[in-house]
């Protein structure tokens, strides 16, 4: 019972969706199923919002209650969750501070705290890209040398001085990099990886539909 029902459900939902793509939505019920089921999946996911909130609350609450190291930070996280979430759940007809419209607590916190935090995290990428390049681009092997040479060449090409330098070697060099490296080799490799990964994903999907792969329902 505990394994059979999930296996059957996975099989049915998988098969229906796989088949529905071959039927016209305006002519058959089965053809209409695909978009409908996608909404269903979203709805199931929507309910889990409480599970997420429960998980983050429990982890942090336990830290605070047991006065574990850094419990102050956990308290802060707890407060932040509720300050953000609660007003957004209340109807905006009660007060302009509730709901999620402009002027609400939810919107203010998002605009002035969340947004700059996100932007700054993105800004850190520039530092990391430099240190990763410095450390990883060493000519340790033939492959590593190829990697570092192409990266350097492309980086040169992307800034004015570098491009002028490349043009001074040969007028058509920037064009050549664009044609043969970016649209040639790069595209071919991306295509190869995409085809391979798609086969892997399809075979994984098949194993799930047929119940061969069911780590998630109590069978390894």
């Amino acid at each position: 019972m505990r394994t059979t029902v999930p296996v059957v459900i996975a099989f049915l939902s998988g098969l229906v969706l796989a088949v529905s793509i071959f039927f016209r939505p305006d002519k058959t019920i089965i053809g209409q199923i695909e978009p409908e089921i996608l909404v269903w999946v979203t709805i199931v996911g929507g309910f889990t919002l409480f599970l997420g909130a429960v998980s983050i609350t429990r982890v942090n609450f336990n830290t605070v209650r047991r006065r574990k190291k850094g419990w102050g930070y956990s308290l802060l996280t707890l407060i932040s969750v509720f300050v953000m979430a609660l007003p957004s759940l209340l109807p905006s007809s009660w007060s302009p501070l509730f709901g999620d419209a402009e002027g609400s607590i939810y919107d203010w916190l998002f605009q002035y705290l969340d947004k700059p935090m996100m932007a700054t995290m993105f800004g850190i990428l520039a530092f990391y890209i430099a240190s990763a390049a410095y450390r990883a681009f060493r000519a340790r092997s033939a492959e590593a040398t190829i990697l570092l040479l192409t990266a350097t060449l492309v980086m040169l090409w992307r800034v004015p001085m570098g491009e002028a330098f490349l043009r001074s070697i040969h007028v058509a060099l920037p064009e050549l990099i664009n044609t043969y490296v970016m649209n040639g080799v790069n595209m071919a490799v991306q295509r190869g990886i995409i085809i391979g990964a798609a086969l892997g994903a399809a075979s994984m999907s098949l194993r799930i539909i047929l119940g061969i792969e069911r780590t998630y329902m109590g069978k390894g």
Partner: protein, 291 residues
Amino acid sequence: MLKNFKIILIPITVFFLFLFLTVEPVLAQGGEESAFRLERINALVFVLVFSAAVLLYTRWAKQGKTLFVRKIPGIDAVEEAVGRATEMGKPVLFIPGLQELDDIETIAAISILGRVAKITAQYETPLLVPVRYPLVLAAGQEVVEQAYTEMGKRDFYNRDIVRYVAGEQMAFTSTVNGMMMRERPAANIFMGAFFAEALLLAETGNAAGSIQIAGTARPEQLPFFIAACDYTLMGEELYAASSYLSKEPLMLGGLKGQDFIKVIIIILILIGVILVSFDVGDWYYKLFKMA
């Protein structure tokens, strides 16, 4: 196993009955266009051939035929990494990507998590699994609990091993980065769908001195994982990892089926190139049209 096939047969019958019922009224209406999308018949044939190949190899595997699969270094490193964490008495950090469970990469990651959890359970090594979506949280808890139970280490399981950290991409990243610097995991394993945060996570992990193994099917993030991690599973290798780690012949069947199809794809492409080059390939080219 036979029992399971019966289980599968019942819904198939139900399904086809259902199909019949929905198609029938439409056929009765009669129309210029059929209810079936004839233009997608190429995809149907392809899916059927693919499924047949995977199932056939799976069957051979079950009959005890030995299937050879070459070594995949990144996957072998997973066990080593957990071993090192055990020696050092430090935790293993596993991140199943930053997508919801409706992405197949995440499902692959969850399945790998199941295998990794078995190894950590066996060695009694602490495991940390921060996740970004609650559905992934549920699935992750399910597989980890199962792994610990199966290895007879229930006492070491606690449901906060897999924990929901934050919903937003960069909030998740900043928290996990903090976690890496404070808990100093001996090994970081990144599997699944990653975006701009790939480098943010991997570079911080590198600074914290952890062994790092990454795997993703997204070609645009692979260069950054390769630069900052010790081992990287590229594209298809991510999907191969769970079969490979399970070491069950049944799971390897899928891998062999894929390889078989890959050879067919290469042959089909070559035939296409030859035909198109001599300007006689128009009909052939159209066979692969996506509709």
